[in-house]
Symmetry: none
Subunit: 414 residues, 2 copies
Amino acid sequence: MRTEIIAVGSELLLGQIVNSNAQFLSQQLAELGLNVYYHTVVGDNPARLEQAIEIAQKRSNVIIFTGGLGPTKDDLTKETVSKAVGKTLNFDQHALQSIEQYFTQTKRVMSENNKKQALVIDGSYILRNDYGMAPGMAFQVNEITYMLLPGPPSELRPMFNKYGIEYFHEKLGLQDRLTSRVLRFFGIGESQLETDIQDLIDQQTNPTIAPLAADGEVTLRLTAKHKDEKVANKLLDEIENKINERVGVFFYGYEQTTIVNELKNILMEKKKTIAAAESLTGGMFSEHITALEGAGIIFNGSIVGYTNDVKHRILQVDQHILETYGAVSEQCANEMAKQIRKLTGSDIGISFTGVAGPTTQENKPVGTVFIGISLSDDYTKVYNLNLAGSRNGIRLKTVKYGCHYLVKLLNEIE
Amino acid sequence: MRTEIIAVGSELLLGQIVNSNAQFLSQQLAELGLNVYYHTVVGDNPARLEQAIEIAQKRSNVIIFTGGLGPTKDDLTKETVSKAVGKTLNFDQHALQSIEQYFTQTKRVMSENNKKQALVIDGSYILRNDYGMAPGMAFQVNEITYMLLPGPPSELRPMFNKYGIEYFHEKLGLQDRLTSRVLRFFGIGESQLETDIQDLIDQQTNPTIAPLAADGEVTLRLTAKHKDEKVANKLLDEIENKINERVGVFFYGYEQTTIVNELKNILMEKKKTIAAAESLTGGMFSEHITALEGAGIIFNGSIVGYTNDVKHRILQVDQHILETYGAVSEQCANEMAKQIRKLTGSDIGISFTGVAGPTTQENKPVGTVFIGISLSDDYTKVYNLNLAGSRNGIRLKTVKYGCHYLVKLLNEIE
């Protein structure tokens, strides 16, 4: 299968946005075993889009379009593709209803051009849009498979995952598959991890091992080519075991999980509640944990004490501690963790204080961080870190280290 | 000038990296007044690259290649392009010296394949690589201008800015330039905004007006083609005024700013401090505001009252309100905003409560949101919204609406 992704949108050609849809789809299509040979980007221009379609029809047999399904005059993908394959456009009643429903629900007036979003190419299989108005669609003409997806990634990604993949499996009868497994590590640098498993990387052909570093984490992507899922999983298990014999102490989870998500899972499993006292992280820990569905079961709340006054007045940190040791201190982190646990009646209190930058604070250098974890009146532990990076890089790493330490602690105690 | 950017690299087609070079170059080329009509991505495959070059030669007269200039066998851009234009490859002595120097300096042994990086297409203008080994190059054949740039953004960007732009100016005798201005709007949908200014969009040729929607915001990119910066700014001012006569009430800022940033600016300007009481947003407002440098001047802190217990115990929301009206209510939002202002001794208290989903809460549907703003003991206002979208989409829109309402309020009062 020779696959091509055609992104339609002048905003891409002006450099206003990056073609992240092509990246996302390429990853997904690789998993499906479809070879992506070309990405093309054209503007909102029917003549040039038409030409791009002609070229794609000659060299590709799966053509995926992204963008240009919206309500405005610029949005012309459906019109141009339908013309190129000699099909008409019809209203999809389900899409029309959900568009009207959206406006009723949000109590907004629907402008007429919104209806255009419910037009679909005749005979298409409709890909529902669960996060927006314009549905996607797919069909086959002359042994070429076409799929049209909306431009906004927040709509395209769930649509492709939920409906698009299934369509390809069914229509293309895919057999040779790639199965990937992503292992996630925290607390070890990329070059160290790579050094530790270099011989495994060099020896392996199936599965392959690809390291990637981002945001202070390292992931290993293991990819097995196979015709049988069971065989693939066995191969992946074997290599995973070998890797974890070396660096398993830093392993924390699979695939798209995050260290925050792992923390949520273990808190749920152990039926523990948590609350946070945040200074340099400014609410980031709380925001990350409440971004997860069901957070309400384990997360009670937090106090963001950005000033010393709030740390004292609301979080009830002793004025003496703030004056003697400062807000960026082991003592303050200890007190913050204890207080938030007590004030909220939670099982666990976690605290974050430090210097995010760009300037020093209390004469402590940028990157100085203290994380407190309080599990009871008798047990509060403080971790000290010296982190490098930008202001928000330091904040993010701080949150991740907090989760990392707490997960380890919860795994150790019964 | 019809310009095409061809990125060469299988890592792009596998989705391992995103084509950020295309975005960067597109922005730069737009400023130069070169119209980018196509982005193409092909893998490290000479036959397919050759075909892509043939297509580009038919439709474009400026062709920019990125990637494939490195030392490995995969790197074949120079070889394939030189073949396509009927030219030979020669060693560039300067490049060869600096490659050897690099290895001497870093005390590493130079493997023979590194020399390959010093090969350049005969008759090229050499673009020095100040941050890596492979030089770029540019030349003209049959009225088509070719430029080859290295793949790593850390090498490509400075090379293009320092040497590439100059080459285009000289060789293409560029006079017309493009100047863009981005206007940002919040609180109005894309289709409504476009309907309101449709006649302006239709009439305009210079500057052009391009709308774009993302994350609940709409931007308009105004782009003027000109020979004189002053003339361009006058044209942009005129059309901006016309637009803002219609939809100015939703305008909040220029270029890359955010609504949170605008809130920070106005708080600083008016010397006001703020604190937040967050329920459904779970710390997102606090996190967004503390992500900005200098937030400590205007932001005191917040209480994330995720459970009713924390809302009552720490935020001191009356138990009666929680029992009678519920946490998702106008009354609760009102009380939360008031209390956080008083407890933290801030000038302004802002509160967020609602249902982020995925399930209803207190029998209130997903998307029900109340935002409270308290400016004094006598003035607290509550806004009610019905938002659509995913859990985190609703949370993000809630934060943005809170900033939007407060900015408006602060602009109204003196």
